[in-house]
Amino acid sequence: MSKYLVNLSVNDIPVSVPEGTTILAAAKKLDFKIPTLCYHEDLCVAGNCRVCVVEQVGARALVAACATPVSEGMQIHTNSATVRTARKTIIELLLSEHNADCTKCYKNGNCELQSLAHEYRVGEHVFIDLVNGKHRVIDDLSPSIIKDDSKCIRCQRCVRTCDELQGVSALTVAYKGDLQKISTFLGHPLAEVVCTNCGQCVNRCPVGALVEKTYVEEVWNAINNPNKHVVVQTAPAVRVAIGEELGYNPGERLTGKMVTALKRLGFDSVLDTDFTADLTILEEGTELLTRLKRALVDKDTRVALPMTTSCSPGWIKFIEHTFPEFLPNVSTCKSPQQMFGALAKTYYAQKKGLKAQDICVVSIMPCTAKKYEANRPEMRSSGYKDVDFVLTTRELGMMIKQAGINFHNLEDSQYDSFMGESTGAGVIFGVTGGVMEAALRTVYEVVTGREVPFKNLDILPVRGMEGVREAKVKIEGCLPEWKFLDGIEVSCAVAHGLANARKLMQAVKDGSAHYHFIEIMACPGGCLGGGGQPIPTNEEIRAKRATAIYREDEGLPLRKSHENPEVKMIYEEYLGAPNSNKSHALLHTHYLARRRY
């Protein structure tokens, strides 16, 4: 953006803003809120809903505030008679093609169109109802996402999300005029196209046209079933976002209160996905070292390097569709969620004297793709589904409200044991770069016997919100058994958001980039910006959640996965060693090449 200042007036109040600023931003600077629908901070400007139209003195027509840059001497009126009439008419038009069955809608209470209709007190619909009589499809075949065309207002936020933010393009605009709709390839169900279930579209849909498939009732039923032992696990990114569902500002760390709430909801055991995050580091770290050894010592040319992480189910589905030739490069480790489920129905069951079929594993995830992951047929290590039901952060908020729990007044409490202990390394799985950082903390120490050479264990080069980040760590002074790594500079890359993942993988494919280890998270910002996180999510909110996650890490006494006492215990008692046969049976998986459309 240019440094030149442009002078204009908004509602007769003068203001100076840098050249290139939109009218929307200039008005915001003066604390005038101009309503928007198709506009989203994360996306390119569309200017198609027209709700943000304002009057520019001298212009023939109204202009879209979100799409129009300021110019010198501009006089803008955001609430003139023409503007008000136009804006109200536009809201009425949107309602006429929107299935406004608000009280029965999943998004009731968190719908931008509903809020606008309320603000403008749109009463009886003036216009003819266009919803009935049109062939509208509800696609509920995906285990993650429900798409209801009758509620769609064609703002195209989802299309822009899927295309520019995620580089997936599962959603696109089809047909024109009155038939125009948001569609998939040939109108196939989301479950049968390249959709990665990341839910970024769900997080940005202003109405109820794209929502997560909810399993709240199923979870209540399990809790209320006396024959079921219901275990709940919570992902790292949930604890720094659940507050937003319950009236807190973004960035509040509410781990203790959340654990208390889960206990009050009636879960038999409240455990932590962070525990299996730590376990993942040992499994994945060992896998990486094994691959490096095979490549460097055994000179085995078939070893697939760089190795990529496998925690993000959106990323897994993406690479299965888009770069299937790189599937051998993906770590075979299951995601922490699935590791947890597999262990809950084996190790945990055994120790507690329970049968696998009597255990119900519920996970609270910042993610909609986790719902899909839990349903993958290969995720049944105990003979039963590793994870029975996956709820998003939003659904947990819903359950807490339904149960009438006054969250604000809750005391903190601790996770149950065992499988509830975690380190700071497990917590930072929730932020982009976190898995890389946690892995480096452990791998470096395993190989050299010394801590990673970064102040306070904070590996700053892999942190931040840059789309693709690179870091190099030189390994020196190895322990005797790792001598082959002496002097090697381990080259790492981190990407978040699938559009960035595509860029990074393309560079690897072209041969223009060389790494040993790559961390990829499907969602912008990592899990803290997941599709199952509170709405809205934007750059500012992601930054606040990230800060909270790093605070949580700093505050924990243990910050290296291999120091987690429960992780040590499970290897001693049950698994033997990382990448043992038992580990492989329970904690590792395989992938499937999928079609490109």
Binding site: N48, T68, I90, L93, I153, G177, Q180
Partner: protein, 388 residues
């Protein structure tokens, strides 16, 4: 010319004694600034319907600094009732090419493209053949410029300049936000002049005969002449090139069948002039502007049906991206149907007029903004026919 007949003109189709390449060769001996001055002086306005001064458009694009610039000839002639560009491309394509080349030289472009309406694809083989020769001719006279054909796929909206760029770039044909305007960021984001077929031929002729001769014709606001596509209840359907400045009455006297009750000026997106306003309405920028379509309706025609047809057209041809146009068109169409059936009271027509006025100021592009033209003019002047 109060009571005189419309003056027929022969500029566009005149080929006798004209060698387009020669004209280009002579013209490019002048400086681009001189050509722009000539264009501005001529008062030529865009003949596609919007009427933006051609010389200014060229000047703005020339002033942009960019290695790549483009000249695009908008031959996506989709306005209902318009067929002049097809005729021009069929009969005098070299004059169009030459207009593009002169524009290219003037603004500093090296590439020109013709975006041809999908339904006109039958013209493609001939045009391509002639283009090969023409491009060779340009090379011979030492002008680093060449022209290529591009084909549309039949969407009306792609005649809107920014949707046309999107379509040419291989994307879905949807209008862009403005600004930036094409003169700054058009095709492939580069400074672009996009002119109608007819405009480019006039530009070519102005380069040949000079602005003075062109200016002699027409009025202060509407210089020169214009090719009209005349259809409907007329014994003289077809193409006529006429001097601008006549009234609708003069036009009807010449082309009507003696029973004309309304003339739709400017196609479906234009305005409807009822008989009582023929005398006072001038065809041109001081009165009712037109891209050339003149549809005459006699008393046997139902104006409800006329309006219904137009609204069906817009409902289908809206790109669908912006709310006022996508939903507004459907509401206008369903609205007059409901009134006709008696499901809505005649008073609802006022609500619909307000809706049309909102569309005029709030829609994203010219399509949605212009639906109000036929709607308000027909509904206001033929209210009884709409209701009963």
């Amino acid at each position: 010319m109060e009571n005189s007949r419309p003056k027929r003109v022969d500029i566009i189709f005149l080929m006798e004694g004209i060698d387009p390449i020669k004209v280009v060769e002579t013209t490019i001996k002048k400086s681009p600034d001189d050509i722009i001055l000539e264009m501005i002086d001529s008062g030529l306005k865009g003949r596609g319907g919007a009427g933006f001064p051609t010389g200014l458009k060229w000047k703005f694009t020339r002033n942009e600094e960019s290695y790549d610039k483009y000249v695009i000839c908008n031959a996506d002639e989709g306005e209902p009732g318009t067929f002049k560009d097809r005729e021009i491309l069929d009969r005098v394509p070299e004059k169009v090419f030459a207009g593009i080349a002169i524009c290219g030289y003037t603004i500093g472009a090296r590439e020109g493209l013709i975006y041809l309406r999908g339904e006109y694809n039958f013209l493609l083989p001939t045009l391509n053949e002639k283009l090969i020769l023409f491009n060779e001719g340009l090379k011979k006279i030492g002008l680093d410029f060449s022209i290529q054909m591009r084909s549309g796929s039949g969407a009306y909206i792609c005649g809107e300049e920014s949707a046309l760029f999107e379509s040419m770039e291989g994307k879905r044909g949807e209008p862009r936000n403005k600004p930036p305007f094409p003169t700054v960021a058009g095709y492939l984001g580069k400074p672009t002049v996009i002119n109608n077929v007819e405009t480019l031929v006039y530009a070519f002729m102005i380069a040949r005969i000079g602005s003075e001769k062109f200016k002699e014709m027409g009025t202060k606001d509407s210089r020169g002449s214009k090719v009209f596509s005349i259809s409907g209840d007329t014994p003289k359907a077809g193409i006529s090139e006429l001097e601008l400045g006549m009234t609708v009455q003069q036009f009807v006297d010449e082309f009507g069948d003696g029973d004309t009750k309304a003339v739709q000026v400017g196609g479906a997106s234009g305005g409807c002039v009822p008989r009582k306003m023929f005398q006072e309405t001038i065809i041109g920028y001081e009165g009712i502007p037109t891209g050339g379509s003149m549809m005459l309706f006699n008393s046997s025609r139902s104006m409800y049906n006329v309006l219904h047809d137009y609204l069906e057209f817009f409902t289908e041809e809206s790109c669908g991206q912006c709310t006022p146009c996508r939903v507004g068109c459907q509401q206008l169409l369903k609205g007059i149907e409901a009134i006709k059936r008696g499901d809505k009271s005649p008073g609802y027509l006022e609500d619909l007029k307000k809706l049309a006025k909102t569309m005029k100021v709030a829609a994203k592009c010219g399509l949605g903004q212009s639906v109000a033209n036929p709607f308000v003019s027909i509904v206001s002047n033929f209210k009884e026919e709409i209701i009963y």
